[in-house]
Symmetry: C2
Subunit: 296 residues, 2 copies
């Protein structure tokens, strides 16, 4: 056969810009990449890449080859994906990223049942409270709290998460305990960066109208963990998913405030890169989560 792997590797090298990056992406060693490209050049009898140990340049021949072969390789991958989406059974590696607290508290216990149901799916969980780039790090699904901001992604709502307003005992001793949402205007709020209006806090209470108060923000951060640490250190008041701070409330490290005025529930979403059809492994995983999240 007209040795295709060589070309696949070559295309990957061109697209990633280096042999090492291509090796990482293809999950083979640098040595193998070097061999593949060398073999292809030898077979075609033409140098494809000018390598200067620090910078790769496409030869004229290399550019010509990439122009035509690059799209063909992509076509094949797309065709494969299409077949898999249409008629395939759940199978293959499934890369999922989720908030660490959600993973520990809920995902890990549920996962065993999922893997039993779909033995051909190989799950790769990345429990991490940072915001990841789905396409860049090639995740199939991300579990997130916030509503999505990146329009190139699509989301599916899995469940509501209850948010609790909390602060540390030390902070309350210093700044006093608010009794109504209106009292918050005198307090310091810790907010999550990725929100529409981080310092506008909404509350709802049974039988009353929704309330919006402006808090004075002193710390805005894109890390759940950092915000929790700030709250524990007594820097201010913040609002967190119940799951995330259940332990701290039970142990008394954080105190729940305004119990009659809950924040409107946030949405727990499964987020995935835009695709016409989802691969079966992703579909069944999200379905599984939605089914098992109903009781919670």
């Amino acid at each position: 056969m007209s040795n295709l792997p060589d070309i696949a590797v070559f295309v990957q090298v061109v697209e990633r810009g280096s042999f090492t990056a291509a090796a990482d992406r293809l999950e083979i060693s640098k040595a193998a990449v070097s061999k593949y490209v060398g073999r292809l050049e030898h077979r075609l009898g033409a140098r494809l890449l000018n390598r200067t140990t620090r910078r790769l340049t496409l030869t004229e021949a290399g550019a010509a080859l990439y122009d035509r072969a690059g799209v063909a390789i992509a076509d094949i991958a797309a065709a494969e994906a299409e077949v898999m989406e249409l008629t395939g059974t759940p199978r293959g590696r499934l890369r999922v990223t989720a908030p660490a607290y959600f993973g520990n508290a809920f995902l890990m216990p549920a996962v065993t049942g999922f893997l039993r149901s779909y033995p051909d799916v190989e799950l790769e969980l990345d429990l991490n409270n940072r915001i990841v780039d789905l396409v860049k790090e090639r995740f199939d699904v991300a579990i997130r709290i916030t509503s999505l901001t990146d329009s190139s992604l699509v989301a599916r709502r899995l469940a509501d998460v209850r948010l609790l307003t909390v602060a540390s005992p030390e902070y309350l001793r210093k700044a006093g305990t608010p009794a109504t949402p209106a009292d918050l205007s005198d307090h310091v709020g810790l907010s999550y960066t990725l929100q529409h209006a981080p310092n506008e806090w909404h509350f709802v209470a049974d039988g009353k109208r929704p309330v919006t108060v402006h808090v004075r923000g002193c710390l805005r951060c894109n890390s759940d963990d950092a915000l929790k640490h700030a709250a524990l250190a007594g820097i201010g008041i913040t609002r967190f998913p119940e799951l995330f701070i259940g332990g701290e409330i039970a142990s008394g490290q954080l105190v729940r405030l305004l119990q009659d005025y809950e924040p409107p529930p946030a949405s727990l979403c499964a987020v995935f890169p835009t695709r016409t059809n989802l691969p079966p492994k992703v579909r069944v995983f999200v379905d599984f989560l939605a089914r098992h999240l109903k009781p919670a």
Copy 2:
């Protein structure tokens, strides 16, 4: 990498219509083909081919995959060929077919020099007097005497070949020896099948007008060897390239006739499948032949 060889093999199976044929074409074992296809089906989680031990049918999924991947594979092969044609050095397997007598008398001696000049070319000579299908049997070049009839092929004239009019002594004893072309109308002519007008023989002589005579054909054949045997057996008069019957004339098995009236020289051609640009290995081979045929 999204395992491409699997798809290449699958495409080949579809195009050739059977696992065995694909194995032949790809020059791997049937077992390997079976494994490749099986692996692909397993990876996609869908059956691609319905195999009934005697007939292959494309699954809906298989048809979808082939529709898109087939052209992509062809594109890649074309891109490879293009690069090789534009900037490549002579390299790879070169399949050549030539008349046996030409191969033995001329090609084999010349070939050693060619291989020394281009050590990366692997020559595969098929010396055979039958007419082969270039594309079907995947030859890169054919050396032929006749002008080409198949318009899908292109040819390049390499040299003129001198044709001699000959017959066996036995035949001449029975039928007499013709002294002029006009005498041939009483004789039996053995003709090669693939000629415009097999029974119209042309002659030219120094200082005289070209002559055309009609001979009575009793045997028309598409095999050089068969015609030679017929001539040796005394069945009739025929015209052959000098190289082809030099030995028989020297040994007296065939007698040269009408020495003053030679047939117009035929063209020795290199014939190849139509391509925009020839691969370097083919180009240098034909150049080499043309260069070394001038003296002869």
